[in-house]
Subunit: 511 residues, 2 copies
């Protein structure tokens, strides 16, 4: 029985598998890796240390890039006066249905007969506040105080914060009522500069996803129907995950003068005349972690790209005999020390953990498989003698192993980590490229969405907003983006209207 179970485990550590039930597999990967869980606060998750460790790495590495591009961090109030939200009507309507509202500022405690305490809200506020669903309005009000002259521009600010959008169908990391994110907010003298900023961040997100998360995105522009409420242009990076659905992984918005006019972000220009600034906003969130899981993980659990693995290398002493136990553990610690001292990856010291817990080797191994540690190293009595280590890579089959001289492992460790990253990126790129189909025929288009796990369709498109919404509703799809690198092709007939158009659209189902 025990043996049978183990055998089954070796086939696949996560039940159900991806092909059995992808959404449930996703939940089980998170549970098996001990990353997060639901809480009793509706739609809000607890991010456990292994999940939060990934977020910390994402945060540190993105923050460096924001600072290199001239942005400074600041912090703005959690609560937004309702009157602020009301100023930009489109924005207000876009978020109205999902705002948590604070109406009282104290509680009265009532002692119950059984000795317990009951608390009742009191101290009603004359003006209610909403918990920020995003901070354009409150940061805009600060900008209107700070900006006086063109000399104060550009103003380039970023905030790391929690935000709240009351979600009706929450899903860990991908869609939670409260989530953690960064939101950049900038103000510029000219339209061109603001658009340039929007594009710079868009490319930064694309590169970050590729180089840090091993996720190849399609960068593109959202259609009007899918734009951020209040924006003139929304750029997006769209990731395809293993069930071929799309995830909007990050967005960069050009807000034109919509918010600056609503909030009076004005300045004295070079010509002495007062004018309104051009603003942008952009963000990525803990949703990146959900994207990461769905992009790379397999039927044995989480698979982490090395840059964002809280532990990159797990060293496991294999100690069948008591007499060699100490020597083996010492050798493991010594290896960890050498790696920490002499090696680095992506500009950071290596993150290494020696797991010398006194539990079964199989249990230990599978725990780290399920947690997605990129490299596992085992050292046993025979390895100690031969000067070798047993190398196991998370991007390979769980039982694949290679015995290599310890010195070779040390010498090549950075290449090995880079190779794991590249393998993940290559697989994800193949998945994406194999599942984007060019389609120029409406009949084909219509039939395509009947299959169980459709990919994405790339079509010539110049339909109206109404036509887009009709098609979207009919097939439960959306235009994910007008892919930037594929615009201005030779004109082809729009799939719906038949009019020749240089514009291309990508359609798909999404999370």
């Amino acid at each position: 029985m025990a043996k049978q179970q183990q055998k089954k485990k070796q086939q696949t550590a996560i039940q159900p598998t991806r092909s059995d039930d992808f959404p449930e597999w996703y939940q089980q990967v998170i549970r098996a890796a001990d990353m997060a869980e639901n809480s009793e606060t509706r739609g809000c998750m607890v991010i456990k240390p292994w999940g939060y460790g990934i977020w910390e790495l994402i945060q540190q590495q993105l923050d460096v890039r924001f600072k290199e591009t001239g942005h400074q961090n600041a912090y703005f109030p959690l609560l937004i006066p309702l009157s602020y939200l009301e100023k930009e009507a489109g924005h207000a309507e876009g978020f109205a249905t999902e705002c948590a509202v604070v109406t009282h500022h104290r509680l009265e405690t009532e002692k119950q007969d059984d000795g317990s305490v009951k608390m009742v809200p009191t101290g009603k506020l004359t003006e209610p506040y909403v918990i920020r669903p995003t901070s354009e309005t409150i940061i805009g009000s600060a900008f209107s105080r700070w900006i006086e002259s063109y000399r104060d521009l550009p103003l380039l600010v970023n905030q790391w914060a929690n935000v709240m959008r009351w979600e009706m169908r929450p899903r860990l990391f991908l869609r939670t009522a409260e989530f953690l994110w960064q939101e950049g907010h900038t103000a510029h003298e000219t339209e061109n500069e603001a658009i340039e900023e929007t594009r710079t961040i868009h490319r930064l997100y694309e590169e970050f996803l590729r180089d840090h998360l091993a996720i190849p995105v399609i960068p593109g522009e959202k259609t009007e129907a899918e734009r951020f409420p209040g924006a003139d242009m929304t750029l997006t990076v769209e990731a395809m995950v293993q069930d071929k659905k799309a995830i909007q992984a990050g967005t960069s918005h050009y807000l034109g003068q919509n918010f600056s006019k609503a909030q009076d972000i004005s300045f004295t220009g070079r010509d002495g005349a007062t004018q309104h600034a051009y603003t942008t906003s952009w963000g990525v969130s803990t949703r990146l972690i959900g994207t990461l899981i769905m992009a790379h993980s397999d039927d044995d659990g989480l698979v982490l790209p090395p840059r964002v693995a809280p532990q990159q290398i797990i060293i496991i002493p294999v100690t069948p005999k008591e007499e060699t136990r100490e020597a083996i553990i010492d050798a493991c610690q010594a290896l960890a020390e050498v790696l920490r001292r002499e090696k680095s990856y992506g500009g950071q010291p290596l993150r290494i953990h020696v797991d010398s817990r006194d539990i079964g080797g199989g249990v230990k191994k599978w725990e780290w498989v399920k947690k997605g540690a990129p490299i596992r190293i085992e050292i046993g009595p025979r390895d100690l003698e031969s000067g070798k280590v047993c190398l196991q890579r998370r991007d390979q089959a769980p039982n694949a192993k290679e015995f290599i001289p310890k010195e070779d492992f040390i010498r090549h460790v950075e290449e090995t980590l880079a190779d794991i990253h590249n393998q993940l990126l290559q697989r994800a790129t193949e998945l994406r490229d194999n599942n984007i189909t060019t389609c120029t025929d409406l009949g084909e288009f219509t039939n395509y969405w009947d299959q169980e796990q459709p990919g994405w369709l790339l079509t010539p498109w110049n339909g109206s907003r109404e036509q887009e919404e009709e098609l979207s509703k009919k097939h439960k799809i959306t235009i994910r983006c007008l892919p930037l690198d594929l615009q201005d092709e030779d004109p082809s007939p729009c799939i719906l209207t038949g009019e020749p158009t240089p514009q291309r659209a990508i359609w798909g189902r999404s999370y």
Copy 2:
């Protein structure tokens, strides 16, 4: 007129001065250094980049120490169900009067006749939530899910987060409705281990304030009257600032089994019996920045200890003549490069800014004085020839300067920064030690509090809670702590009851 103004400025850049009006001076230092400002969200501040930069450094440096002592970061929901708060009655009552309450989860937009939009809360929640004033209850509920066996202990978790306590008299950094903090929460198998953890963190805070913020605190225990709601023991680090008031800069609480019983944080012990865990909690907040300002700043503005200065060294090119301008700026950049590449302080690369803005040298200099940059370096045409730099230190008079060979400056830069830190620490220690007076006579005690800026009194004390509260009310003071390093002295008569007691108390006014 301009000259007069400059002269006045050189006397003191901040008006009023500390001796004129300390609380107003404090506000003006913050404004002059561009650190933070009030917002229209009641009691909430905007933390501007220079202030937030200090917080980022505090956060990074504390985080390293938490991780070294075995703690892991995680993240828990912002909103706490009312029913959670009700479980620990003392805790609930302690925070009831300052809780922001979320009662609705959507807004209805009503279009007004003038085209504007008005928003009205709707979607009433069956159970309201409070925005966390602290997270013992919600983290405790996670702990009760996570802990099953003694093998799961100790559980050592920390959270970096925003919290909210509705403040009636807010003051930037020191007391704001929303503030940023870290809150550690741990669970242990035995009382001893939990008390040991409480003390470990207490010492960690003491050392952090001394070694990173140059603030010499008095570590001690709070009396029952001043304890955290729900704690069995509260340890505190108390800082004296320049008007001789006390600031509680950090606290570490031993919670006994109060929260574990209220929330059923129980485990199967080594003997197989079910028992309740012993828990602790501890935190420091953006209040540290207020403490920092009041401890070190002077009548010319902010003074920053080098470890937490967002920029430690400002290099200012002095370019009176166009023909040497480029060479001087190049020399400044080259100096910055050498320092960044070759030098470090406190284990971090140096933070250096070359201020080559094309504005008056005096304006520039005073801006950095007011921002508290520890070192300013000027390089002008003559220095370029002589190979010297003009060194100005923020801990010295604003016009003190020293011309030293550039190579000497580079060679000794770490010592210079360490010396600035030590000077600040020494001054603050002298201020503190000169203003703590031992007092054994009730008449002297009573008279002491009549002076305008009293310091602290150290007295033998074994009075009751009621007697303590009566004395506190009468003189507008509190027992800041029972100082740890001064307990178990030879018994002396309690200042009030006259009974011999080994216990010592420190009394003072506080923020």
